[in-house]
Symmetry: C2
């Protein structure tokens, strides 16, 4: 006999997609550029955010200073929000997901309300460290940045195709460790092109600072385009 | 410095609690008694539901036949809904959670709409097999039945206190295996009393049918009280 099956996740995702579109439009109205940063745990999201925020605020790079906020999502700690507050001039807020492995549009909205997005030009969300669930949920961001650290391997676009497909930009971090970990940039580019041929890729090192200025200049350009 | 922290899960649970109260009232309006059945995987939820439905429909036990539905929640299979459909006269529907480990009130509502709860006296939800997350989410049910199988051990109320605290009734299944697994009913009752002294406990065997008539008679009484 025929059993009727209801795909609950599909309707949850559809509802979230609508809510995310609404949030994105609301943020356009308040001129707040919202960037969703995703990666595995330990790939250097917080370090990358600190160096990115500092580079964005370099006088030479900035037509005008940006007002920046960071929302740090975590199961239950607040170490990342403390790092941002200690090392940058950005506003920061900690979001506890209480065990959930992703953020959705409504959770974003709560954080954005708390951080006061109306007064900010740019808000980063450091999503929960995970290459699977966060890719499925539209947070309402204008840009999705996916970070992959060299020690994770150049094959990751093959193993997590949805995450890399969703990326608007890919940041490869810890490039100073490339030789030690046998990571081939060209192999990575080929693997990425298989799922997402259009995303720009920046190679960064938190240790040497290499690549940060180029990435920050590109991001600044995207923000300026959004803010006009 | 002081970092502001937002507990996202708390507001999600509060929103769900309100929605669950609304659903519970709506089901009272359509005279549909809704039972949320929770347990670990493999503890005998489906087998217990089959024997319970059959016992509820015994002519001697029934003032009038009940119209019964079963919603089978699962990550992605539909074997349990097929079992219910093949072995009972209950309506059944399969709910795919797509990886989520619990059902909330809105997910319940989708399933209830699909199964046509207005025409049913009694709907069972077989929740996702898990003793943690499902306990936190009110599905809008009028009764929460927690199943523990003897092989899982008589210490489980100590290890999963929230689940056993939430139970309106506890069913201990596979009691024919009690000696083989060194499960002491009195120890179990003491452990349960520590977190939930009020929940009635029924001891059942799917193999011998022991205890099923008593549990079904008690449940029938609860349903009759609800339907008047």
């Amino acid at each position: 006999m025929d059993i009727k099956t209801i795909e609950l996740k599909k309707t949850i995702l559809e509802d979230n997609d609508k809510d995310a579109e609404l949030l994105r439009a609301q943020l356009k109205g308040t001129k707040t550029f919202y960037v969703n940063v995703m990666s595995s745990p330990g790939s250097g999201k917080t370090t990358t955010l600190v160096s990115t925020i500092r580079a964005l605020q370099e006088p030479a790079n900035a037509q005008r200073p940006l007002k920046i906020g960071v929302m740090e999502a975590d199961i239950d700690s607040d170490v990342d929000a403390r790092t941002i507050a200690a090392q940058t001039d950005a506003a920061s807020v900690q979001l506890h997901t209480g065990g959930m492995c992703h953020l959705d549009a409504e959770m974003s909205r709560q954080g954005l309300r708390e951080i006061g997005h109306e007064d900010l030009d740019l808000v980063f969300l450091e999503n929960v460290g995970n290459l699977v669930c966060p890719a499925e949920f539209d947070t309402g961001a204008h840009m999705k940045a996916v970070i992959l650290s060299v020690p994770e391997g150049d094959d990751k676009p093959l193993k997590y195709p949805l995450m890399f497909d969703e990326a608007d930009v890919v940041l490869v971090t810890k490039i100073d460790a490339m030789e030690a970990f046998d990571f081939a940039p060209e192999t990575f580019r080929e693997n990425l092109a298989g799922v997402n041929p259009d995303a720009p890729v920046f190679f960064l090192s938190g240790a040497t600072g290499e690549g940060v200025a180029e990435w920050a200049a590109w991001l600044r350009g995207q923000i300026e385009k959004f803010l006009v």
